[in-house]
Each structure stands twice: as C-alpha cells, then as structure tokens.
Amino acid sequence: MIHPSASLSALLGAAASLLPAAHASAASTDDAINRASYRFSDYDEDALAPASVIGDGKRYRVLSQVFGLDTRIADGRFDLKLDATHEVMSGSSPWFVLPDAQQRPIQVLSGATIRDHRSALSAALTSDPGARSNTTWSAAYSAERDYHALSAGVERRQALGDALTLGYGGSFSHDVIEPTDAALDDRIARATKNSASAFASLAWVLDRDSVLQAGVQLNAEHGYLTDPYKLFSYADAIIPEHRPGERAEGAALLRYRRSFAQIDASLHVDYRYAQDSWGLHSHTLEVAWYQGFGSGWRVVPALRYYSQAAARFYSPFALVADGRVNYSSDYRLGTFGAFSTSVNLRKAIGRWELSIGAERYHSAHGLALDGGNAAVPALVDFTRAYAGFDFGFE
C-alpha cells in the first residue's frame, strides 16, 4: 500500500464517514489495482535447556517464502488473489515426556532431524470488489511428504444500512495424513480428517474514526486428530498418543479499529475467546499501533498475550495405568500463557513498498490465567524475522 501524506490522511479520515465505504477505502490506497508481493521469513525456535532433555535440543526452524498476486479481472468486476507458499522445515520436535526419579518431567525429542518441505497454493475470488456488499470464494491446497490438505470456503459481506456490515461464511477442509516410517514405528499408515467452520460477524462504524466488529465462529473436526509422531509414557510403556476422534470449538471475537488521522496513526485492538469440547479454552488479546511518519515511512509495534487452559486428557505422562482412553503430552494442549512482541517497519517508494519485521515469542506455564497444574516441559520460545516487498501496477 502506498501511504498518503499526513495532511491527506487527515483529510481522508475526516471525509470517511460521508463517503460510500468503497470510496473511502479506495481513497486511502494508491490507484494501482494490481499488486505483486514477496515475503521471506525465518521462524526459529530456541533450543531446550539440555538439563531436562534427552535428544538433540535444537528445535524447529522454518524458512518460508510467499509469493502473492492481487489483480482485478473481468473489467474490474472481480478481484483475484493468488498466493504460493514454499516452506522448508528442519530440526527436532518434542516426542514424549518421561518422569525422572522424583517424577519430574524429562522431555524426549525426536532423535532424527526432520527435514521436510511444504508447498501450498491458495486462490480467492471476490465479486464486486470495493463494494460494501460482496462475496468471496476461496480454495487452497497444501502438500507435504506426509500431509495433504484441500480446503474451500465462501464468505459474504452484506451492508445493512450506512453504519452496519454483516459478514458470514463457512469453509470445509479435507486432510490426508500418511506418516513416514509407519510400519517401522507402529504408526497409522493412512488417516483422514475433515473440518468444517462457520462464522458470522457484525461490524459497526461507530463514528468517523472508529469501527467495532464482533463475531462468532464454530469449528467442527472429525477423523484422525491425533499427532502420529507423538508418543506417550503410559505406566511402564511408551505408546502412540491418542486423542478423541471429534472436536467442536466455539469462539467469539471483538475487533476495534480507531484512526487518529491528524497524527497519521491508528490503533487496532483484537480479543478472541475460544472453548472446545476437549476442555481447552483460550484468551487472545492483541494491540497494535500503526504510525506513519510521512515520506512513506510506517512503523507498527504490536503486543499479543495468549492464555490457554489444558485439554482434559493432557498430561506429561501417566505413572499408573488408570484406564484412560485419550492421552497426549503435546505441549500445545497444556496450560500455558505467552507474550509476543513484534515490530514491523515499512517504507513506500513510488510503487514499491518494502517491509521488514521481527517477532519474539515467549511462553511459560506461569503466564496462564487459569488451567491445571500439570507440567508442560516443551513450551516453545521463538524468534521470527521477515522481509518482503509489494509492487503495485496498472
């Protein structure tokens, strides 16, 4: 996006409530209706402290590249977005947890270094782009050596009067899991999973500077929801973990956007609460500040807090065989809280916009608002850095 000067932003901000939404938003971007973009990012998890770890403490690293194209087609009646992603993943991941003599958890990491590639393509077609009422159809395909996912969705935005917009839609995904070395490691050879999602939201234009959006989302998953690579220390045995074959999740979200046009800034506040049938519930609060500095400079610092209470069947290990049916020591199902701080710096130069940024994420059991006392030894800290550009053309 090419950013207008501070005085033009102030003028556009002041005029926004008097203009049709499409024109108010079109006014804040540059005239180019086609955009190409490229972004490279490096996601790097911190190594685990060697004292409580068996195996190579060096964890996951993902190098990803995303190419994007956003273009108007059919005389401007449709907007087509295409994204192509390629990722290279390497490193070891948490495998299972063993109790030591004092029943404290020792994390065992997958011995062999994983090295895999993921390629994904996604497309989204929007009718009447820029209009206050429009429809978007989307489809995506993602492929790894052991995982294939195909998804499709539709989303409708409907203006209800001048200040109110209704959004609703749904999506469906079919995933196929074919774990590597299945016969060797007593893993399932092939499994599938289906997911469906429906959502609805209402956005209110509160005044010329602020918008509030509230929404609900329902997700249902059915099929093989277990991680085929994770094991569980169950009494004296180390066996593949096992999760329920169904999961339902409900989520509510609130988004607030307020622009401070006279200082070329805007505030974004997002909150999300989610609860699922596994007993997991989570809060996410994110605050971001978009600040322009004229001459095309823009900086976006952001802070995100996340708190999760564990799934009912999470525990690092089971000391005695208690007949439980579902069990997992996946840290992502445990109780933890996390802080993420990030900063993004952008500079527009003519039709180009360059962007660089970094994020630091820290999670810990003690940061959670609520949840059980079960230890979560493999909680992750990571650093993500990225750089990319946008190019607008006629």
């Binding site: 207008p4 000067s5 501070a6 005085s7 033009l8 102030a10 003028l11 556009l12 901000g13 002041a14 005029a15 409530s17 008097l18 203009l19 049709p20 024109h23 108010a24 079109a26 006014a27 005239d31 005389d75 001048d162 200040a163 005044d207 010329r208 046009a261 006279q262």
Partner: protein
C-alpha cells in the same frame, strides 16, 4: 451502451449527468434517483432558505440544551469540525454573517463596524458540538454548509447512479465533478476546469477516469469595488477576503475531498495554500490573479 445527458438546475448552478447505459429507461431511472438526491440535499442544507432542515436545526440549537441532529448532519458537522482544525480556524461554517457582508448584491465595501459586528457572531470554536448534540450559544449564529454540501451531493449522486446499475458516467454540479465510472470502453472522461474570470469558459481540459474534481474560486458572488475584486473566500479571523489564488482545482478519490482540499488551499492563500497542496500530493491546478496557471494537473488544452 448508449450515451445519455440530463441537464437540470440545482444548488444555484447548472448541473448535468452524463450516463452510459444499455437503454434509455435504465439511464432515466438512475438520473431520476441522482437528481432526487441532489434536490434532497439542496432542500435540506441550502443556507438561502429560512424554512428548511438546516434552519430548523439552527433554531433548535439555540436553546439551552441544544438539539440532537441526524446522522448525516452529524457527519457533515464532524467533517466541518475537522476542516476547521486542519485549516487553523480559517474554514468556518459559522462565517455566514461575514460572507454576506461581502456579497455582490451589496455593491459596496463593508465598514469596519459592520465587520466587527459580524465577527462577534462568528466562530466555530464558540459552538458546542458534541456529537450528536449541537448547541449555538450565541444569538444570530447561522451554519453555512455550502462549502461542503455541493461536493458531497456530487459524490452521493454518483453513488445513486452506481446503486441503480449505471457504472459509467460523470456528475457535474456547477463544475464540481464526481465520476461514476470511466467510459464503458475504459477511456477517461474529458472535463473542463472552469476559468476563474468566466465560469462558462473552461480554462483547461483534463482527463478523469475516477474520483472527483472540485474547484474553489472567486468567480462566484465576487464583489468588485473600484476595479478591485474582493473574493467570496473570507478569512473569518480578520473578516476580510483572502488575497490569494483566483481559483484552485483539485482531483481526489472523491469530489468531497477534492473540494475540501481546494477550499482549504484558497483559504490559506498563495504561499501556505501552495505548500499545503504540494504536501497533500493530490493533482491540483492553481490560477493566480493574473490568470497564470500552475500545478500538477496535466491539462490537454
């Protein structure tokens, strides 16, 4: 696609709609809707009338508790409030008493006493505006939304045409233009920028494919005394007309924003106004008192 043209007077000036539609019925229906919208806004906000919505709002706002205004009026007042802030108090919708002192019909310069008297009744900062409640504590304060409403009406008329399914056309309200959409073949519209000294004679022709063009100048209701022109652009802080550009034209994504930019540049005068226009980065054309054009709008003739 066939081309249709509808001419009509409104808001005290000649107006026209040029539309491209599949048939006459579609064009006529869109034009009727657009005209009705322009007429509605003229009726609601004209400051020449004492019996309309604006006059009733002003009357109601004089009470101790003021009056709650409708959303559209509130949006216009918010916009006027922002322009007042962004122009260091030069843009002022309460400046009506001053503007009338400099009206062509009077044929003479106002006296210092008259100017001081009018200034005492003028000042947006003396108005209490806490959306949606408006209160006018000073007796005799009147609001004049003329500097905004015509451009707003042009954008609204263009949107009415789009809502009626006519996607190619241009709205012209007395030289303030809002493009509905480029010609059906994708080519831009040719539009004339009116000359400051003779509004019927365009001083430049430009291509415009979207958004709006607005011109602010001293060709309307200008007072000429002793061979000297006193523009209808009054600096409410001094009570005297601004000596600056003869006209400023701006192209923006909407006629409303173009008009606000042009009006603010006129109010700021040659040096400050010129710097403001360059800072905005929107295409503009200024004409100075000697009729010399300058600016970044590419003209065809």
């Amino acid at each position: 696609m066939r081309a249709f043209r509808f001419d009509f007077p409104s808001m005290g000036c000649p107006c026209s709609l040029q539309l491209e539609a599949a048939d006459e019925a579609s064009a006529a229906s869109a034009a009727a809707r657009a005209r009705a919208e322009v007429a509605r806004l003229d009726e609601k906000y004209s400051h020449y009338r004492d019996d309309n919505w604006l006059a009733r709002i002003c009357a109601g706002a004089r009470g101790d508790h003021g009056i709650e205004v409708d959303d559209e009026t509130a949006n216009l007042l918010d916009f006027a409030d922002a322009l007042h802030a962004q122009s260091a108090a030069r843009f002022d919708i309460t400046a009506g008493p001053l503007t009338r002192l400099w009206d062509l019909q009077r044929g003479r310069l106002p006296t210092h006493e008259e100017i001081d008297d009018a200034r005492a009744r003028v000042g947006w900062s003396r108005v209490s505006w806490v959306r949606p409640r408006l209160r006018l504590p000073l007796p005799g304060t009147r609001l004049d939304l003329g500097g905004i409403v015509k451009e707003y009406a042009a954008d609204r008329a263009a949107q009415c045409c789009r809502d009626s399914g006519v996607m190619h056309g241009i709205v012209d309200l007395g030289g303030d233009l809002a493009v509905i959409g480029a010609h059906a073949d994708g080519k831009p519209w040719l539009a004339g920028i009116k000359a400051p000294r003779d509004p019927r004679q365009p001083c430049a022709t430009i291509e415009i494919a979207g958004g709006g063009l607005a011109t602010s100048g001293d060709y309307e209701r200008a007072l000429v005394v002793g061979g000297r022109r006193y523009s209808h652009i009054i600096d409410p802080r001094s009570g005297w007309p601004v000596e600056g550009f003869a006209s400023v034209s701006v192209i923006a994504a909407s006629c409303l924003v173009a008009g606000a930019a042009a009006t603010l540049a006129m109010l700021l005068g040659i040096d400050e106004g010129g710097a403001y226009l360059r800072e905005l980065g929107l295409p503009f054309l200024c004409v100075d008192q000697a009729g010399r054009p300058s600016g970044s709008i590419e003209t065809l003739a």
